[in-house]
């Protein structure tokens, strides 16, 4: 009953830098969700919470420079756990891309998907150890 419905990374202009869906949506619906999330999240300021009610779900989000990392979960799921899951993910990206920036996510989108799949799978947190994730990523990189 409780799992991540989607993960979105968007910039302030509303450009999607990553969209990962963990339940079936058709393309129109995905587009609508992307726009709604952007509208809901960007109007909030630093004094606001990192949580927004969203339809029958909630969005847990965190802003890094111009990028919004958003996770959509069920309303009764643990807010802070996902808030820190986002940060954990960002720290891994930062380590992996050596000081990550928005364009890393654009050009290396296929690697970002790999990072996501290592850390989140089927809408669940799969691996939380940064050491383990990075070790696996480096191993995969060596295969390229």
């Amino acid at each position: 009953r409780v799992w991540i419905r989607f993960i979105l990374i968007q910039n302030r202009a509303g450009k999607t830098r990553l969209a990962k869906w963990y339940m079936q949506f058709d393309d129109d619906e995905k587009q609508k969700l992307i726009e709604e999330v952007h509208a809901v999240v960007t109007v909030r300021d630093a004094k606001h919470t990192n949580f927004v009610e969203f339809r029958n779900f909630k969005i847990i989000y965190r802003r890094y420079a111009g990028l919004y990392f958003c996770i959509c979960v069920d309303v009764n799921d643990n807010n802070l756990a996902y808030l820190e899951a986002i940060h954990n993910f960002v720290e891994v990206l930062n380590e992996y891309f050596h000081n990550v920036c928005e364009l890393d996510l654009v050009f290396n989108f296929y690697k970002v998907y790999t990072v996501v799949d290592e850390m989140f799978l089927a809408g669940e947190i799969r691996e939380t150890s940064q050491t383990k994730v990075l070790k696996q990523l480096l191993m995969l990189q060596s295969l390229e």
Partner: protein
């Protein structure tokens, strides 16, 4: 990292080949981008169609470009085949791009699905952990039914195989979870389930993390099969929370050991009631205490990540404590902890504390503790900058509301409503309306509150709300005059909301006569006031007002000509709206042709509404999504039962509806044949006394009961000086409709001497056996000849279900534990009623003891309440019963709640006991 100061310059050398496609510089036009992309697409298409077979590297390059173009937001309608080809490559990068393309651009083309599944099958069998991982991730990402059909059998095997690598196990667990979510019917439980549970013991915490998610989801649907996970989860959790912050190395996050895994384990435990095994239970309690203790320790780091991770675990632990709702000590500690957060400088924590306290408010153990924070919460309502925090404050005020603070909370909500965001106004309106109704001691206050609601936020007052106020006013005659006066005054405002006109029109039409004596609100003044609003109103409101006018014709004959003039006017009689026109025509005709009597009958005051669940509550549930608020409301309803907030007056005339039917008084002229049904209320709580008396006959009783058996001595006294002849008293069980097939009560007796001398007394012994629970008391039919006439008397014999009550003593903890176990709606019956006798504590105690139950002292946290427990013995079953009586001296009311495992028993005992106070 992603710092704002960093210039947005691409630097990843490996990706430079994609750079020309991407236009981060905003100067370039959209058309130019599309042109460039179309050119690139044409190029890729020609490569794919070219004569020369592409090598793996080129194929990967172009598939990757297609993906990139797709992710930029352009449609892609080719390349699927090439992507599928990549799946069978032996190079990781090629395979990875192939799988990614499949995962992102899911295509249900059946040709391809077969090929894809084939490739996945090969990779799963490859024993190469990297390839197995890619294949499992693809299944988990796509999760289609076709994939479930193909792999639901294979994945569990990989998951529990002894030689599977840890990282593959992690992926397999979550892959299986995805398949189970999409197609549970295709994932059969089997041998693997018990082995999956043991993954909770795995050395690799990543495997435990993934497995816990899988087990939690499976356990929700199959709790029995995964029961063993409870003790394993507790011991795993215990090892984590007691570990030093460095023990778990990789899994320690900002000095917090395995926070996500802890959260998941705590969630898994929320699929189950508190552990039965005392050792496991003790260990879990220790864990929870440790987590609460750690919250009080100074932070090991000033970083927000540290406190977030720590508090993630803390909030989940509190959720579990609330879920168990059985350890008062932990509940109160949780509440105190949240109380600290209410004033924390982090908005996130204030928000979460408000949210979490909302559920604590519904536990009877912590409700009072939550209430102590009322001022902080009200302050949050006034000062928080984030609307969602204010919203949580409203929710919490709603949850903590009971009789003691209802007036304050309703007043605060009303004043907040004046400035509240539009998005949440309707919900606040509903909440205020519900609280005002639920906790109204004084219905004048209720009417004032609703009229205030309409004044402040009329647009957000839905039909349900104003229908409800009318229902309540109609059902309660004590408030009708006040309501008429108040709406009349409110209507004086130059601009009043249309909803007020509706309520005003309806109420004055019914009860305008109650204020018509005052010249300031004479019939004509009332009419003119309403009619001054008429032209500004919408059609439905005008239609309602026309009905008010015709009601006025009946109430106040003196305004009849004025009203007829209005009805006769063109704007009514020839109104373009059919409904209005028809009403005008019919009402005018009715007022002309009908006699006063007929008018009075047709336009009689509305009868009381049948009592039903407040439609507002249903509306509130509907308004907030299905998942969240249904639960909230359910717990809320439960709370209103559990928590001691003093009795609630029944909304509207509920008390009349469910209250006892009044006893038929005994009457007998002693001459003719009388059928006499005497509801012997006074015998419910005692066993001896005079049952019946008239000029001829007195019947006395003495009885004793033990378990399901009883014996009753009936004494018949002839009060006259003449003999009674053919004296035949016969006790007959009356067991309702099914008495032919089933006997609930066996009565055995011997005939008595048919002659009773004047002034003499005869005795009859009745042996009673209760077979099963029953509602109808048996009847004693007595026939005899007195003088020349045949006498016939029927009296109810006071053998009631509670006579088979055996008192049970128990501790407070046992009581509330059992109370909670009997929480199905069918098991509980509640009645709220006006006191019919002076509310004296000692008498009440005596009655409860007389009723047969044990009176449990010092069990209820509120010493004013009475709780009792006992067992109803029948031949066929024993039914444990718990009862709770909550007096409210101020309102002169009681709330009585019965919980037993049998609905009919709860029902009957509640009826019987309600009549006693």
């Amino acid at each position: 990292m992603l710092a704002g100061s960093r210039p947005g310059v691409g630097k990843a050398a490996t990706s430079r080949r994609l750079a020309p496609l991407c236009s981060p510089s905003p100067g370039k036009s959209k058309e130019a981008e599309i042109k460039r992309i179309n050119k690139e697409l044409a190029n890729i298409r020609s490569k794919f169609k070219g004569d020369k077979a592409l090598d793996g590297y080129s194929k990967k390059k172009y598939v990757c470009k297609l993906l990139f173009i797709f992710l930029l937001g352009h449609d892609i309608d080719f390349g699927h085949m090439e992507a599928v080809n990549l799946l069978s490559s032996n190079r990781y990068t090629e395979k990875q791009i192939g799988y990614l393309f499949i995962s992102v651009l899911v295509n249900s083309n059946s040709e391809l699905i077969r090929l894809i599944n084939n490739a996945i099958k090969n990779d799963l069998a490859s024993r190469n952990p990297t390839f197995m991982g890619l294949a499992l991730h693809c299944i988990a990402n796509v999760g289609s039914r076709e994939m479930a059909e193909a792999f639901a059998g294979e994945v569990p095997k990989i998951l529990v195989a002894g030689d599977t690598m840890d990282s593959v196990k992690q992926s397999a667990a979550l892959c299986l979870l995805r398949l189970y979510r999409t197609s549970p019917d295709l994932v059969p439980m089997g041998d693997w389930t018990s082995r999956v549970v043991h993954l909770l013991n795995d050395q690799h915490l990543g495997v435990v993390t993934a497995a816990t998610s899988l087990i939690t989801t499976l356990a929700q649907k199959n709790p029995e099969e995964f029961k063993t996970s409870v003790s394993l989860a507790v011991s795993r959790l215990s090892r984590i929370v007691t570990s030093a912050s460095t023990d778990l190395q990789d899994y320690t996050y900002y000095f917090v050991p395995a926070p996500w895994l802890s959260v998941k384990l705590l969630r898994l435990l929320q699929c189950y009631p508190p552990p039965e095994d005392p050792a496991v239970r003790g260990r879990l309690t220790e864990c929870l205490e440790t987590i609460l203790n750690k919250a009080q320790e100074p932070p090991k780091s000033k970083k927000v990540q540290h406190s977030n991770a720590k508090n993630a675990v803390l909030f989940e632990a509190i959720s579990l404590i609330i879920h168990h709702d059985s350890e008062p000590n932990l509940l109160v500690r949780a509440c105190n902890q949240l109380g600290q957060f209410l004033q924390h400088r982090e908005t996130n924590l204030r928000y979460l504390a408000l949210e979490s306290m909302c559920t604590l408010a519904s536990s009877e153990f912590s409700h009072e503790a939550v209430k102590t924070h009322i001022d902080t919460v009200i302050n949050a309502l006034k000062t928080e900058r984030d609307v969602s925090v204010r919203q949580r404050a409203v929710d919490l005020l709603y949850a903590m509301c009971d009789r003691s603070n209802a007036q304050q909370i309703v007043a605060e909500m009303l004043s907040y409503l004046e400035t509240a965001d539009y998005s949440i106004r309707e919900e606040i309106v509903l909440k205020v309306a519900i609280l005002a109704e639920k906790y109204a001691v004084d219905y004048a206050w209720y009417v004032d509150t609703i009229l205030n609601l309409i004044r402040i936020a009329g647009d957000y007052v839905s039909e349900e709300v104003w229908y409800r106020v009318i229902q309540i006013v109609i059902n309660r005659d004590d408030v009708q005059g006040y309501a008429a006066k108040t709406v009349f005054e409110a209507l004086q405002a130059p601009a009043c909301h249309e909803n007020l006109v509706k309520v005003g029109g309806y109420i004055l039409g019914e009860f305008g006569n109650l204020i018509a004596g005052d010249p300031r609100s004479s019939p004509l003044v009332q009419f003119n006031l309403l009619h001054s609003k008429f032209h500004l109103c919408s059609v439905p409101t005008r239609a309602l007002l026309l009905s008010t006018y015709i009601k006025f014709v009946n109430l106040f004959p003196e305004v009849k000509p004025t009203i007829q003039d209005v009805l006769r006017g063109d704007s009514q009689l020839r109104n373009a709206d059919v409904e209005l026109q028809q009403r005008a025509v019919e009402y005018l005709r009715l007022s002309t042709v009908a006699s006063t009597d007929i008018l009075a009958t047709v336009l009689e005051e509305m009868p009381p509404f049948p009592e039903r669940e407040s439609s507002i509550l249903a509306k509130l549930k509907k308004k907030k999504g299905p998942s969240t608020v249904t639960d909230l409301e359910d717990t809320k309803r439960e709370r209103s039962v559990d928590v001691n907030g003093g009795p609630e007056p029944a909304p509207a005339s509920a008390s009349a509806a469910v209250g006892p039917s009044p006893a038929v008084p005994a009457c007998c002229d002693g001459l003719g044949n009388n059928l006499l049904l005497f509801c012997s209320l006074m015998f419910v709580c005692k066993n001896n006394g005079v049952l019946f008396e008239n000029q001829l006959l007195q019947i006395g009783l003495k009885s004793e009961f033990r378990q399901n058996l009883g014996r009753m001595f009936i004494f018949y006294g002839n009060k006259t000086s003449t003999q009674f002849l053919n004296f035949t008293p016969t006790p007959v069980p009356r067991c309702g409709l099914d008495s032919l097939t089933r006997t609930h009560l066996n009565l055995q007796t011997k005939p008595v001497d048919p002659t009773v001398d004047g002034g003499a007394q005869v005795q009859q012994v009745v042996n009673i056996e209760c077979v099963s629970d029953f509602t109808e008391a048996p009847v004693l039919n007595i026939q005899f000849r007195y003088g020349g006439t045949f006498q016939n008397v029927s009296v109810q014999l006071p053998i009631t279900l509670n006579k088979f009550f055996q008192p049970t003593e128990m501790s407070s903890q046992d009581f509330f534990q059992r109370w909670k176990q009997l929480s199905n709606p069918q098991q509980e019956v509640q009645n709220i009623f006006k006191a019919k006798h002076p509310m004296d504590t000692e008498i009440t105690k005596a009655k409860i003891i007389g009723f047969g139950s044990a009176l449990l002292e010092e069990v209820d946290p509120n010493p004013a309440n009475f709780v009792g427990a006992g067992i109803i013995h029948t031949k066929t079953s024993q039914t444990g019963c718990l009862l709770r009586l909550e007096p409210n001296l101020q309102a002169q009311m009681y709330r009585l709640t019965l919980r037993t495992s049998k609905e009919t028993v709860s029902q009957r005992l509640c009826e019987l006991l309600s009549q006693q106070f």
